[in-house]
């Protein structure tokens, strides 16, 4: 199975549809909560490292931008095209950091989102932050690319607080870990 193509196709699709559909706030969105993201168990990626670092690193090129597409607390934030859960930026964290006292899960669901600023697609890592009760703030969910539980790496009904001390789900970040190639 050409998963690279599959993932890219979903990614592109999500990116195109984000503006139209990601503002949906149906109960389904609330259901997203449980779900620590979904796909791609990649424990060895850089996303699993750097947990020691405590320096806040807002993506510089978003600093000046205005509007929900550049607001990490908004469901319309460009990096949220495949998020499923509470946005950590509303819980005491940021788009790239977990709230104090939580544990960053190394396994992540990867999405491909288009940055409206430069029109390029980026690989977004939706790591969960774990070890406390649910944050309860800024729910956001979309199911594009979601597959049933027989394909865990693509299923967002699964609690992805895995490989951590406590599986209790708190919130989800949306970190840029790379640039998507167009070879699909």
């Amino acid at each position: 199975m050409n998963w690279l193509n599959w993932l890219d196709r979903i990614g592109e699709h999500s990116a195109r549809q984000v503006a139209r559909t990601s503002s949906r706030r149906s109960f389904l969105a609330r259901l997203g909560v449980l779900v620590a993201g979904g796909a791609a168990s990649v424990p060895l990626l850089p996303v699993a490292r750097g947990q020691e670092s405590a320096a806040r690193e807002p993506a510089p090129d978003e600093a000046g931008k205005r509007g929900p597409e550049y607001d990490p607390t908004s469901c319309e934030y460009w990096r949220h095209c495949a998020i499923d859960g509470f946005a950590c930026a509303c819980c005491g964290g940021s788009q790239s950091s977990c709230p104090p006292g939580t544990e960053l899960a190394g396994m992540t669901w990867l999405g491909t989102c288009r940055n409206p600023d430069d029109g390029r697609d980026y690989i977004i890592s939706y790591n969960d932050c774990c070890g406390k009760g649910s944050c309860g703030q800024c729910l956001c969910n979309r199911n594009e690319g979601d597959l049933p539980m027989w394909m865990p790496p693509k299923n967002n009904d699964t609690n992805w607080c895995q490989g951590v001390k406590s599986q209790s789900y708190h919130c989800t970040i949306a970190a840029v870990v790379g640039v998507a190639t167009q070879e699909s």
Binding site: M1, W6, H13, Q17, T21, S26, F27, L28, R30, L31, V33, L34, V35, S41, M107, G131, K132, G133, S134, G136, R142, N143, E144, G145, D146, L147, P148, M149, W150, M151, P152, N155, D157, T158, N159, Q162, G163, K165, S166, Q167, S168, Y169
Partner: protein, 384 residues
């Protein structure tokens, strides 16, 4: 508390108040004195149902609520810990099995997974069996756990993210084994001591257990659908020896489990010509009534990639013998989960996902009542 200090403290209060009840109790009034006690359930009514609540915003406090759809009244409740999915209710209905997870500090600390045994008449805890702390957590569906047809073995799907199945002998009330099942997920009973799982390539794996509940054999079918073209949802329902599943696009896949290996039949569509915009969707989106041989499916309009969990605005009902739709039931409110009671005058229970459950006459489609205040997020409904 220490009895000694209790006396010292409470003693003071008693002195203040004891005279009153004493003298009051001396004379009986027209209203007979009550004898406070703890209720029992008695025989289940035809329209009793369990609403399993993962308690989304407070997952450490999961619950299962028992309601009577005829009166709309709550009959009882079970407190079922964190990541709660669903109960397992054996055919004889004397006991309830509940796969549960607990943390020594509720959201942290030491994790303990158990199967708790509740008396189905008193709802009291009878005991528990400790199992490996790897139970799958997520939004519940029918495959999270199951009972083998002989009612002896409870199977719990594990995800850590290694995939495996825990086997508990619920008659001996002891843990039997953990069966590693890499690449395959969830559990669906297919025989006396047999179950199947759905695998990542669109195939099914059947595991047969021996008399002790240990793995006797496993067998994998060829893929019966193409995960890339039209994924088949894991949210199936079973009638006798056939499991029914639907795909994102709306095809019904029948899996015959009467034999050792699953048999597949030709898929058939939920939609008629021109109804392509309608898609199946929801969490517990399928219901079945064995006696009427009917399948109920939650459907929504403007289906698109990613809409496979959208709430259903209608329930479409199919004659499983003719494989034809026999009626459409527009819903008063969109629903994410449904179940049909087993009796001859069945009702369709539809959860809005929020703490509201609508009760419909399954044959006429009439809304009979709306039950509110059903916990927090009742995502999986069951009938005893």
């Amino acid at each position: 508390m220490t009895p000694r200090t209790f006396d010292r403290t409470a003693g003071a209060w008693l002195a203040l108040l004891l005279t009153l009840p004493a003298l009051a109790l001396a004379q009986a009034g027209p209203v007979p004195l009550d004898r406070p006690h703890v209720e029992k359930l008695g025989e289940p009514g035809p329209h009793w149902f369990w609403a399993n609540d993962v308690s989304f915003f407070n997952m450490a406090d999961g619950r299962a609520y028992l309601f009577d759809a005829d009166s709309g009244r709550m009959l009882g409740m079970l407190s079922t810990g964190i990541f709660f999915a669903k109960l397992e209710i054996p055919a004889d209905g004397s006991v309830i099995y509940s796969p549960e997870t607990y943390y020594s500090r509720h959201t942290r600390g030491e994790r303990t997974d158990v199967v708790t045994y509740y008396d189905a008449n008193t709802l009291a805890v009878q005991g528990e069996t400790v199992v490996p702390g790897r139970r799958h957590s997520g939004l519940p569906n029918i495959g999270f756990s199951t009972l083998t047809d002989d009612q002896r073995f409870l199977l719990v799907y594990n995800f850590s993210p290694a995939q495996s199945v825990t086997v508990v002998n619920v008659q001996a009330r002891e843990f039997v084994a953990e069966i590693q099942t890499p690449g395959c997920a969830l559990t669906y009973a297919t025989g006396e001591t047999r179950f199947m799982m759905m695998c990542g390539n669109g195939s099914l794996m059947t595991v047969a257990l021996d008399d002790q509940g240990r793995e006797a054999s496993r067998e994998r079918t060829a893929p019966f659908f193409d995960p890339q073209q039209d994924p088949v949802m894991e949210k199936g329902v079973r009638r006798e020896d056939v499991w029914y599943f639907v795909s994102y696009g709306g095809d019904v896949y029948e899996v015959d489990v009467s034999g050792k290996a699953p048999g597949f039949r030709e898929p058939w569509p939920l939609q008629r010509a021109g109804e392509g915009g309608w898609r199946p969707g929801g969490f517990e989106l399928l219901g079945v009534h064995a006696g009427r041989n009917e399948l109920a499916v939650l459907m929504h309009e403007q289906g698109e990639p990613g809409s496979h969990k959208n709430p259903g605005t209608e329930t479409w009902v199919y004659d499983l013998a003719a494989r034809e739709r026999v009626r459409r039931m527009p819903l008063t409110a969109p629903a994410v989960s449904i179940v049909v009671t087993r009796d001859e005058h069945p009702v369709l229970l539809a959860s809005r996902g929020e703490p509201v459950i609508d009760v419909y006459d399954f044959t006429s489609g009439d809304l009979l009542r709306t039950i509110e205040g059903v916990g927090q997020t009742p995502l999986y409904l069951q009938v005893p």
